[in-house]
C-alpha cells in the first residue's frame, strides 16, 4: 500500500479582508490524501470547510503555504480536480446530456469519442433513457447523479464533494451517499467530502479529518476501520465500531447551541 499522494496541503493559511477587518479563515493546515482514498472533512458550521475545497480547486489562493495536486502546485482551476456543489445546479435550459457535456464544452473537448463516453456513463448509472429530458423532469436523486456524471465526464483525478447531499431528503440522501461512494470507488477516484453530517463522513470515508472553529486548524484525523459485511456506506453504518467513532468525533466537535 505505497500509493502516491494525490493531494497535499503544506502549512496552508488563508486570510481574507473586508472594510470591517480581516478574517483568519484557515490556519496552518497540513495533510495529504493518497490515490484512491476517500477523505471526510467535518467541522463546526462556518469553520472554513468549503474554503479548503475552494483552495484545492484553485478558485482562491492561499495567503501562506502551498497546495499540490498530483505533484503539481495548484495555480488555478485544472482538469485534474472535479467539484460537486451543494445543489446540483443543472442548467434548466439544457437537457441531461447537454448538462453532462458542460465541462467538456468548456475545455473544448466535445467530440464523438467524449460524447460516447458521457453517454456510456449516463447509461451505466441509470440515466440513459433520460438523456434528452430537461432537469425539471427528474427527481432530486437523479439530478444529483446527473451532476456527478457532469463532474466525472472531464475525467478528474480528484473529486471534491461540498455537502453534495444536503439538498436531498433523508432517504434519498442515504441512498445517494451509497450510490455516489460506489461510483467513486468503481471509477477509482480520490475524493474529499465536506459535510456537517458525522454519520455520513464515517460511513463513506477511509479517514475523517476533524476541524476546529475558525480559524480552521486540524483537531484530529481518524483512521476509520469498520467490520462490516459489505464495504458500502449503508452496511458500514451497521458496524459495531460506528457508534464509537461517532461519539469521539461528536465530542471533538464540541457543539453548543448558542
Amino acid at each position: 500500500m505505497n500509493k502516491k499522494d494525490m493531494v497535499s496541503l503544506k502549512n496552508v493559511s488563508l486570510k481574507y479582508y473586508t472594510l470591517e477587518g480581516e478574517t483568519h479563515a484557515v490556519n496552518d493546515i497540513s495533510f495529504s490524501v493518497k490515490q484512491g482514498e476517500f477523505i471526510g472533512i467535518v467541522g463546526p458550521s462556518g469553520c472554513g470547510k468549503t474554503t479548503i475545497l475552494s483552495l484545492i480547486a484553485g478558485l482562491i489562493k492561499p495567503t501562506k503555504g502551498e497546495i499540490l495536486v498530483d505533484g503539481k502546485k495548484v495555480e488555478g482551476p485544472s482538469t485534474d480536480v472535479g467539484y460537486m456543489l451543494q445543489q446540483d445546479h443543472l442548467f434548466e435550459w439544457r437537457t441531461i446530456m447537454q448538462n453532462a457535456l458542460l465541462g467538456l464544452e468548456i475545455h473544448g473537448k466535445t467530440n464523438r469519442e467524449t460524447k460516447e463516453k458521457v453517454e456510456r456513463l449516463l447509461e451505466t448509472y441509470g440515466l440513459g433513457e433520460f438523456k434528452n429530458h430537461y432537469p425539471d423532469q427528474l427527481s432530486g436523486g437523479m439530478r444529483q447523479r446527473a451532476a456527478l456524471i457532469r463532474t466525472l465526464a472531464v475525467d478528474p483525478k480528484i473529486l471534491l464533494l461540498d455537502e453534495p447531499f444536503s439538498a436531498l431528503d433523508y432517504q434519498t440522501r442515504l441512498a445517494m451517499s451509497d450510490e455516489v461512494s460506489t461510483i467513486i470507488r468503481k471509477e477509482g477516484k480520490t475524493a474529499l467530502l465536506v459535510t456537517h453530517d458525522i454519520s455520513e463522513a464515517i460511513s463513506m470515508s477511509d479517514r475523517v479529518i476533524v476541524l476546529s472553529k475558525r480559524p480552521a486548524t486540524i483537531k484530529s484525523i481518524h483512521e476509520i476501520q469498520l467490520t462490516s459485511e459489505r464495504d458500502n456506506p449503508i452496511s458500514r453504518r451497521q458496524a459495531p465500531e460506528f457508534r464509537q467513532y461517532f461519539n469521539t468525533i461528536w465530542k471533538e466537535l464540541d457543539v453548543h447551541v448558542q
Binding site: 482551476p77 482538469t79 467539484y83 451543494q86 435550459w93
Partner: protein
C-alpha cells in the same frame, strides 16, 4: 370537453372536476366578449338616439366609415405601416442596445458602479421631454421618432436585464469556474441563456414603451403615422379620426404583444 375514448383512466370525480374548470374558463371568456359587445352596442345606440353627442364621442359605425374612407383614399396602410415600422425598429434597437450595455456593465463592475447614479437619473427622467431636442438635432422625420422609441425603452432594458444578470445564482458561476471557464464562457454558457426569460420580459415591456415613444414622436413631428392622425384629428375636431386611430393602435399593440408571447414559448421550451 370530456371524452371517454381519450381519457380512459379518468375517474368520474376527475371528469367532473375537469368539466367544472372548463366551464369556468368558458364563462370568463364569454363575460369578456359580452362586455365588449355591450359596450359597443350601447355606444352605437346612445349615439343614434342622440343621448350622447357623436360629434364629440364618435360612434362605432362612424369609425367603420372612417376606416373605409381612409382605405379608399389609400392613406390608411401608409399611416399604419409607418407607425408599426417605427415601433418595431425602435423596440428591437432598444432591446438590443439595452442588452449590449447591460453586458458591458456586467462585465465591468467598475463601469456598473460608475454608471449607477446616471442610470437612476435617466430612468426617472420622462424621456418624452427630450423630444424637442431630438427633433432639433436629428431633424423632424422618422429617425427622430425611432430615436424617441429607442430612448424610451433603452434605460428600462438596461436596468431590467442587468438586474437579471446579477440575480443568477453565484454557485452556477462557481460551477463553471471549477471547470476553468473564462469570463466570456461564463457569459455565453450561463449568463445569457439563464437571462432569456428576463430579456423576453424586457421585450414585452418594450413593445408598450416603444409605442409611447412613437406616438409622442409623431405628435411632435406630425407628418405621418397614427400619432399624426390623432393629433391632426384633434386639431380639426374630427373625433372619428382620433377614435379610429386609437382603435388601430390597440389592435397593432396587441398583435405585437402576442408575437413576443409566441417568441417566449419558442425560446423557453424547457418550461413546457
Amino acid at each position: 370537453m370530456y371524452n371517454k375514448n381519450n381519457h380512459k383512466a379518468v375517474s368520474k370525480e376527475h371528469a367532473e372536476y375537469i368539466a367544472k374548470i372548463k366551464k369556468r374558463k368558458l364563462l370568463i371568456r364569454l363575460t369578456q366578449i359580452s362586455i365588449l359587445i355591450i359596450f359597443i352596442a350601447l355606444w352605437e345606440l346612445t349615439a343614434r338616439l342622440k343621448i350622447i353627442d357623436a360629434f364629440i364621442t364618435s360612434q362605432p359605425s362612424r369609425i367603420i366609415n372612417t376606416l373605409i374612407s381612409l382605405h379608399e383614399e389609400g392613406t390608411l396602410w401608409m399611416h399604419i405601416s409607418i407607425s408599426i415600422l417605427e415601433t418595431i425598429v425602435g423596440f428591437i434597437l432598444g432591446t438590443a442596445f439595452g442588452t449590449a450595455i447591460a453586458i458591458i456593465l456586467w462585465w465591468s463592475d467598475f463601469a456598473a458602479k460608475v454608471a449607477d447614479p446616471y442610470l437612476v437619473v435617466l430612468n426617472s427622467l420622462p424621456k418624452v421631454a427630450l423630444g424637442p431636442i431630438i427633433i432639433v438635432w436629428i431633424g423632424a422625420g422618422p429617425f427622430a421618432i425611432i430615436t424617441m422609441a429607442l430612448l424610451v425603452s433603452l434605460i428600462v432594458t438596461i436596468i431590467t436585464v442587468l438586474n437579471g444578470f446579477l440575480e443568477i445564482n453565484p454557485d452556477k458561476i462557481k460551477l463553471l469556474q471549477t471547470f476553468g471557464a473564462t469570463k466570456l464562457q461564463i457569459l455565453k454558457k450561463v449568463i445569457l441563456p439563464a437571462s432569456i426569460p428576463t430579456i423576453i420580459s424586457a421585450l414585452k415591456i418594450n413593445v408598450g414603451m416603444s409605442w409611447v415613444g412613437v406616438v409622442v414622436g409623431e405628435f411632435l413631428v406630425s407628418k405621418a403615422g397614427l400619432g399624426h392622425l390623432i393629433v391632426y384629428g384633434g386639431q380639426v375636431f374630427k373625433l372619428d379620426l382620433v377614435m379610429t386611430s386609437i382603435f388601430i393602435l390597440s389592435i397593432a399593440a396587441v398583435l405585437m404583444y402576442q408575437f413576443t408571447a409566441w417568441l417566449e414559448k419558442k425560446l423557453i421550451k424547457w418550461q413546457n
